[in-house]
């Protein structure tokens, strides 16, 4: 018997727990030549803001040991163009569409969310809480429980969509932030976003990136991501979506055992555009070999 990989979250059924992580699958359609989008649970779009954004000046990428630093800067075409030009093409695929939204003030988050109010085809919003709070000197929203709760409540109200709060890992204790997201009405949390890192160019004797700091992703961060997912899952009754360094089906199973309701695959898509196929297949194989009928049988087995 084929194992059942389907996942129920906030009233929706996902074919399987594997999603493309924000910023690593473009708007989703770009991967269509490489994978059957209908075989993955969902795509999460690149972060979308109210207005188009150019992103940061190059260089934007630096490879580290088993990791990648990026300083893309949320380059995107803005909500209006996304809805008009991209969404119709993306909707043709039989997969869930989650829009990742970006803002630098509560107002901006709210407005970005409003853009998707009533927009069919968008199944949920994922709120990137790692954005710098320009009103508060640039510290991420995701580091302050009060702000997390407010932002989540506002975007939920404004959009009427299920909300996934994407938490930042760069915090002392994830628990109060996870609780704040839930209290704000989040239907799920996803974590982790990138770890804050930096690279030095010893030839030029300067920072490698114009903004000095950049976000670290990839296999290097998997142990940290697993720990945070485990901590958040123990704290919450809403689903936790695990992200960070997932390259294989076995990696995904680790996150599920640590408590993840679903997983996102990010940097792996760069290494191999067909990575998500392999992750879905790997989970299936693991379940078959170990006679696991449904994911609930292994989810959160690590207490």
């Amino acid at each position: 018997m084929k194992p059942d990989l389907s996942v129920e979250m906030f009233g929706l059924t996902f074919k399987n727990p594997v999603m493309g992580a924000s910023g690593t699958v473009g708007y989703g359609i770009e991967l269509a030549p490489y994978i059957d989008l209908g075989r993955i649970g969902a795509v999460v779009t690149k972060g979308i803001s109210i207005e188009p954004r150019q992103g940061n000046a190059p260089p934007r990428l630096f490879e580290t040991a088993s990791g990648l630093l990026n300083s893309i800067g949320v380059q995107n075409i803005g909500a209006a163009r996304f809805i008009a030009e991209v969404l119709p093409r993306l909707e043709k695929y039989d997969t869930r569409i989650i829009v990742n939204i970006y803002g630098e003030s509560i107002q901006e988050y709210r407005q970005a969310a409003e853009c998707f109010c009533g927009v069919e085809g968008v199944d949920a919003l994922e709120v990137n809480l790692s954005c710098p709070n320009v009103d508060k000197g640039g510290l991420a929203f995701g580091t302050d429980p009060t702000l997390v709760q407010t932002v989540v409540r506002e975007v939920k109200e404004a959009s009427g969509k299920p909300i996934i709060a994407k938490l930042t890992p760069n915090v002392t204790d994830i628990s109060p932030l996870a609780r704040a997201a839930r209290d704000g009405g989040a239907d799920a949390v996803s974590l982790i976003n990138t770890l804050m890192g930096m690279a030095v160019d010893i030839r030029s004797r300067g920072p490698f990136f114009g903004k000095v700091k950049a976000g670290l992703s990839g296999p290097a961060i998997k142990p940290v991501a697993l720990r945070l997912v485990w901590e958040a899952a123990r704290e919450l009754d809403i689903p936790v979506i695990g992200v960070g360094g997932i390259m294989t089906g076995e990696d995904a199973v680790e996150f599920i055992m640590a408590g993840a309701g679903a997983v996102q695959v990010g940097t792996a898509n760069f290494v191999d555009p067909a990575a998500m196929n392999a992750v879905v297949g790997g989970i299936e194989t693991f379940m078959e070999e170990n006679r696991i009928e449904r994911l609930a049988d292994i989810r959160g087995v690590i207490k």
Binding site: E63, Q75, V271
Partner: protein, 253 residues
């Protein structure tokens, strides 16, 4: 896609040629396109590396790449042996616009910039003039076998005068190029910027293949941004790697 290494051989110190077979029947591609390539070597280095297709050996369903060992990834590649497999994604990016062969075509290569230009020369009915420049002898002769095989008219230039003319590819180009010529170039961005200036000065049309660090090679990471003359960012992997020199904001590289 898996490809099998048919040959991987050092040409001169640090420069290697690798022939890949079993590319699959649907592997087509045109001069100027590249592949993302990676061996099966754990997660360090993590990302695939972009390398231009140097030869399409269509008869045998093979391609050839020529590369210089720069760092971790290319070194790892250089250690691979015939019979091992690599992961290939490609052909990627936009090819060189097909040359209008009624015009004189000049190819200008800065050392390891030569491979895509060799592919271009190989696709032309009439041999173009290839100018290949480099610091020293090895930086230009590494590609001699391909040049001979394709019988390309070539001027070799080295900065130290150890092989061919003494000078740089750009000074040599300046000596030969006219306003009505068509120039294709690949090499360090600094060299390409000089060609852009020269093109403005002399008025010739120039298409250059641009290098930028890449993560995905397929337009999903937005990492390979370069500033377009119109102020927006374009992406080397998807909008390039070949650009008309007038497309790039050379002052803000």
């Amino acid at each position: 896609m898996k490809a099998t290494i048919k040959e991987n051989r050092e040409l001169v110190p640090r420069y290697f040629t690798m022939t890949l077979s079993e590319m699959g029947d649907d592997f087509r591609g045109e001069p100027g396109q590249f592949v993302m390539i990676r061996g099966d070597w754990g997660s360090d280095p993590l990302l695939a590396r972009p390398l231009s297709i140097c030869r399409f050996l269509h008869e045998d369903g093979q391609i050839r790449i020529v590369y210089r060992v720069m760092g971790r990834g290319t070194r790892r590649l250089s250690e691979m042996k015939a019979g091992q497999t690599v992961d290939i994604n490609g052909p990627l990016g936009n090819p060189f616009p097909r040359p209008d062969e009624s015009r004189r075509v000049l190819l200008t290569a800065g050392a390891i910039g030569a491979p895509p230009l060799i592919a271009l020369a190989g696709s032309m009915a009439v041999s173009p003039l290839l100018i290949i420049g480099g610091r020293t002898r090895n930086d230009v002769v590494f590609i001699s076998d391909e040049i001979r095989e394709l019988d390309i008219e070539t001027i070799y230039v080295t900065e130290d005068g150890s092989y061919g003319q003494k000078g740089t590819a750009v000074t040599e180009l300046a000596r030969h190029v006219g306003g009505n010529d068509l120039v294709y170039a690949c090499g360090p961005n600094r060299m390409l910027a000089e060609i852009a200036r020269l093109s403005e000065e002399i008025g010739f049309e120039a298409h250059v293949s641009f290098e930028e660090r890449m993560a995905c090679g397929i337009g999903v990471c937005l990492g390979c941004a370069v500033r377009h003359a119109n102020g927006t960012y374009v992406h080397v992997c998807k909008d390039g790697p070949v650009f008309n020199v007038t497309d790039i904001d050379w002052d803000r590289l």
